[in-house]
Amino acid sequence: MPAVITADHLTKRFGKKVLAVDDVSFTIADGTITGVLGPNGAGKTTTLRMILDLVRPTAGSVTILGSRYRDLRAPAARVGALLDSAGFHPGRSGRNALRVIATGAGVSDARVDETLEMVELAKDGKRAVKGYSTGMKQRLALAAALLGDPEVLILDEPANGLDPEGMLWLRTFLRAQAAEGKTVLVSSHVLAEVEQTVDDVLIMSKGKLLAQGPISTLTASTQPVVRVRTPQAEKLETALLSAGAGVNRLNDALAVRGPTAAEVGELAHAQGVALHELLTEQPSLEELFLQIAGTRREQ
């Protein structure tokens, strides 16, 4: 698949002290949903803004659809963006806020109404934005990103302010966009939020790119976790730690890294510990992130 976005040694420094993005290189393939994951302050937003030419890189370069964003012809028709910093005048109606953007982009009022329908805001389009809830503002911002029916969507924390119903709506929406062949780059600091949606992930922390690839490949390359439930959790934990395993304990449950389930079972048997549950799990995205971040810290 051809690359839609290519970042090459991208670096951004704010002043002398803050290194927001540190020598990050990656490619985003056509027609995929890619999650940019990491805690607050990881450099996700700055990276997305550099892709969109809102923030100028200190070093390195980034291209989208084969050129710099600023060199794209009719960019709104090719790239749609939802950014945390972008907002709407509170005194303007939702529909007029979109019309302002659409007029500048050469998009018709009919398309404005169409996108309001898509994000289920048609009934509220004539209300002033100041009366919108956070979730409604997020959907309005999503409508703004969709105005030009772009090939690429760049969404910075789109789930912010959404209730569980809104999150489900967003997941369905993103899947529908991918089904139409659009490329979606979506950032989040809540890993579970995007776990069910994305194909690939970029994992960032402290300005650095820690890992990139399909979730399945990344999880395959990391250690599985053995889950154990036992009434003698403390005793088993001590034995496992003595054997060199990594252990996290919560009440009667243990998450064990290192030994296989069979090895854990045998150790428990040798210690005379009764097991109520023993199973092997691939790590979740959250655990994957913690493992990768932890490994890098140790290095």
Binding site: R49, L52, L54, V55, A81, G87, V100, G104, A105
Partner: protein
């Protein structure tokens, strides 16, 4: 560029800021002017030079336009709409040039309306009270043209200041304090420097300036209207260019 102009005009039409501007101008000029013409004694209205004073009713308009220009730009940063402006038109100089131009036209049209309204109120008021007043206050058509053009450019000056400083309250308050107090102090203490200060120069262009009195406490030095007009153009061009240049380099975070 046409699409950008249309978007900019839609921005003005779709909030109450522009409507508020017109109401502020009407209140600031016509209400005191009408009251003066209606209530002061006839003998005072027949005094030489009174029409110059009455014309000064429109002197507040450029100040309102200046604030309007600052709000037009700082609102973009305050509400984050600048992000969409740059996403739709990543060549930022186009966004800035269109904004400066649109606000210049709005300022010119607004000042024109204000000047015409002031002229009409003086004419009608004079006729009602049976006094023959020269409603132009001695201004030529050229004076009026310069006044109207500079008012438009002062609006762009506000936009440029907004682009340079971004913080709305600080820019509005700082500009008004500078224009109304600091420059006047400089003019009084150091008249040879003061007469070159931007707002003093803009004011010198205005056809609505109050004529100086022979027995004034402080002798005020000022540039001729045509020189002040040229210096105004230089000031506004420099600040506008600086605003465009800084907008090109600034990160939108």
């Amino acid at each position: 560029m046409i699409a950008l102009v249309r978007a900019e005009l839609l921005k003005l039409r779709s909030t109450r800021t522009a409507l508020g501007l017109f109401i502020a101008i009407l209140v600031a000029t016509l209400v005191p002017l009408t009251l003066i013409i209606a209530l002061v004694p006839r003998s005072w209205l027949e005094t030489d030079g009174v029409t110059g004073f009455l014309n000064a009713a429109s002197a507040l308009v450029p100040l309102v336009l200046l604030v309007f220009g600052i709000l037009g730009m700082t609102n973009e940063y305050r509400h984050g709409t600048i992000t969409y402006s740059y996403l739709v038109t990543p060549r930022r100089w186009q966004v800035m040039v269109v904004k400066l131009a649109v606000y210049a036209v709005v300022g010119i049209v607004t000042m024109l309306i204000a000047v015409v309204l002031v002229y009409l109120v003086i004419r009608v008021g004079g006729a009602v009270r049976g006094i023959d007043i020269d409603a132009t206050g001695g201004n030529t058509l050229g004076d009026y043209a310069r006044t109207v053009i500079v008012a438009g450019l002062i609006t762009t000056f506000g936009v440029a200041l907004g682009a340079l400083f971004r913080a709305q309250v600080i820019t509005v308050a700082g500009t008004l304090i500078w224009a109304l107090f600091v420059e006047n102090i400089i003019v009084v203490l150091k008249p040879r420097i003061g007469m070159w200060m931007p707002f003093t120069v803009f004011n010198n262009v205005s056809a609505a300036q109050v004529p100086s009195s022979d027995n004034a406490v402080v002798a005020v030095e000022q540039l001729s209207r045509s020189t002040a007009f040229l210096v105004s153009l230089v000031y506004i061009a420099l600040v506008s260019l600086l605003a465009v240049f800084i907008s090109l380099r600034r990160d939108v975070t």
